[in-house]
């Protein structure tokens, strides 16, 4: 069974359709890249996986989104529980204006964990997983806003990881960062896929090629092509895909 799957998924903002008949499946412990021109629906699809679109007025969803076979839009699904299982990292680093420690501990407190020693252990683990521990272990009580942009983004990754999700959604996580920070995030993604199923939206072809196992190319709300990343970049079957990955449009 695939970890995450969509079946004939349509999505509307009010009366305008943003996603058309998307059917795709993502395997456990793989990295999937979503590429495509601006406005094609990548972020919209990503937000469907943790039901963040629920926060927007006037949306409509048709079809199914399945996580380990269960439809996450079934009536009795606990949305908060789902979001703990499906972590998200945003385009612009958005750590809370609290201490580094409190940022990572946030999800644990949401989960009602009270024991300080348990929280400390899991904060440390999450910071190690996000390759930030060595840089911040002596300044855990300092404000997260004093970190660099790249560190802040890895802190946001740590914050998401502390919830021990099984899926990690990343919407252009490196687009606001310098090349060195970007390289660190990419390295991190490579390591994280051992434990997590990762979906990353990116505008950088090189990034998609470097970090992902499979790549999905979207165009105007449609899934044009979805295949092994190598195939998408070297031997795509659709002309649209060829044009996009070679930079001829988009």
């Amino acid at each position: 069974m695939s970890q995450l799957e969509t079946k004939n998924l349509n999505f509307y903002y009010g009366s305008s359709i943003a996603l058309k008949n998307i059917s795709m499946a993502m395997q456990k412990n793989s990295v999937t890249a979503f590429i495509g021109p601006s406005g094609c629906g990548k972020s919209t699809l990503l937000r469907l996986f943790n039901r963040m679109n629920d926060l927007i007025d006037g949306i409509k969803i048709e079809g199914e989104v399945l996580i380990e076979g269960n439809n996450i839009y079934a009536p009795k699904v606990n949305v908060e529980g789902l979001r703990k299982q499906v972590g998200m990292v945003f385009q612009k680093p958005n750590p809370f204006p609290k201490s580094i420690w409190e940022n990572v501990a946030f999800g644990l407190k949401v989960n009602g964990i009270k024991s300080t020693s348990e929280i400390n252990d899991r904060v440390e683990l999450a910071l190690k997983q996000s390759a930030l521990w060595d840089e911040v272990k002596s300044i855990l009580q300092r404000s997260a806003l004093q970190l660099s942009g790249g560190q802040q983004q890895r802190l946001c990754i740590a914050r998401a990881l502390a919830n021990e999700p099984s899926i990690l959604l990343m919407d252009e996580p490196a687009s606001a960062l310098d090349p060195i920070s970007t390289a660190k995030i990419e390295e991190l993604i490579y390591e994280l896929k051992e434990k997590f199923t990762i979906i990353i939206v990116t505008h950088s072809m090189q990034q998609a090629a470097r970090v992902s196992d499979r790549t999905a190319f979207f165009y105007m709300g449609e899934l044009v092509e979805y295949d092994e990343t190598k195939t998408i970049f070297t031997n795509p079957s659709k002309e649209r895909t060829t044009n996009y990955v070679t930079g001829r449009f988009g």
Partner: protein, 284 residues
């Protein structure tokens, strides 16, 4: 100097002079009040009741009365105002109902305080039989400052970046948890501004307490919330307009004004300290 730089200079100095003028006016008032009022201040003045037709003695009951009214009105207005602000900004979707409530809040803020006084008398004093009392006065003053607290709360919540809310939801936090643990702490320093403004308003208000709580002369302290109290602004009004010997009571009047201004300044300073503390705690 070329023409552009000259224009810049002129504009710069215009702004500077305008803002300096504000400071000058404030200091002029403080200077005036201090020069005339400070000499009236003594231990007895602060701790004794008025004597001999209010030209002697102190203003202790009025100080206590004003403090009671500040606390009393905030007990009503603060929770109601903050909850309304939260409801308006966090729960109510943009639309007709929201615009209507906002419009009404603004209208309420524009109603003259004497009208609040009349309303308070009709409803709290007479209809609900609270009589002229701390309770009736606090409720009336509470209504008066409610729009200030609602509006500043709403504005402070609006200024909290949405990305923090989204981050919290994405971590599996509920809406209530997000408001409590993420949004409110960030908005709180600015919410305090609403309280500062309210305290200033309540402590200086005369018309709203005239028919609802204020006593002309009441040398003893209140025993319950159904008692009347003296209050500084009203006492000042009485001293300057209707005392038995207005000239002789001038020093007491200025002393009263001095104490009133002092209370407002001190509460402002305290509120600012609280605000800075929370600002430091949550910002870099």
């Amino acid at each position: 100097m070329n023409k552009k730089a000259l224009t810049q200079q002129i504009i710069f100095w215009t702004f500077r002079i305008m803002s300096i003028m504000v400071v000058i006016v404030l200091f002029a008032i403080l200077y005036f009040i201090t020069i005339r009022g400070a000499q009236a201040i003594s231990w007895d003045f602060l701790t004794k009741s008025p004597e001999e037709g209010m030209v002697k003695g102190g203003i202790f009951p009025a100080i206590i009365g004003t403090l009671y009214l500040i606390v009393g009105s905030l007990i009503f207005a603060f929770p109601i105002g903050v909850f309304s602000g939260i409801y308006l900004n966090e729960y109510l979707k943009d639309g007709k109902l929201k615009s209507f409530i906002q419009l009404m809040t603004n209208n309420l803020a524009g109603v003259p305080s004497i009208v609040f006084g009349l309303f308070g008398m009709a409803l709290f004093v007479n209809r609900l039989h609270f009589g002229d009392s701390i309770l009736a006065g606090s409720l009336t003053l509470g209504l008066l400052v409610l729009p200030i607290i609602i509006r500043t709360t709403e504005e402070s919540l609006k200024s909290v970046d949405d990305s923090y809310r989204l981050a919290s939801y994405a971590m599996g936090a509920t809406k209530l948890y997000t408001i409590k643990k993420v949004v409110l702490p960030l908005a709180f320093p600015n919410v305090i501004t609403g309280i500062i403004l309210s305290i200033g308003r309540v402590s200086g208000e005369t018309a709203a307490i005239l028919f609802t709580v204020a006593a002309y002369f009441l040398p003893k302290l209140p025993h319950s919330i159904f008692d009347q109290v003296m209050a500084l602004p009203y006492h000042l009004y009485v001293l300057t307009t209707s005392g038995t010997n207005i000239e002789a009571s001038r020093p007491v009047a200025y002393g009263t004004a001095f104490v009133l201004v002092f209370i407002v300044l001190v509460t402002n300073v305290i509120a600012n300290l609280i605000r800075n503390y929370f600002n430091k705690k949550y910002k870099a």
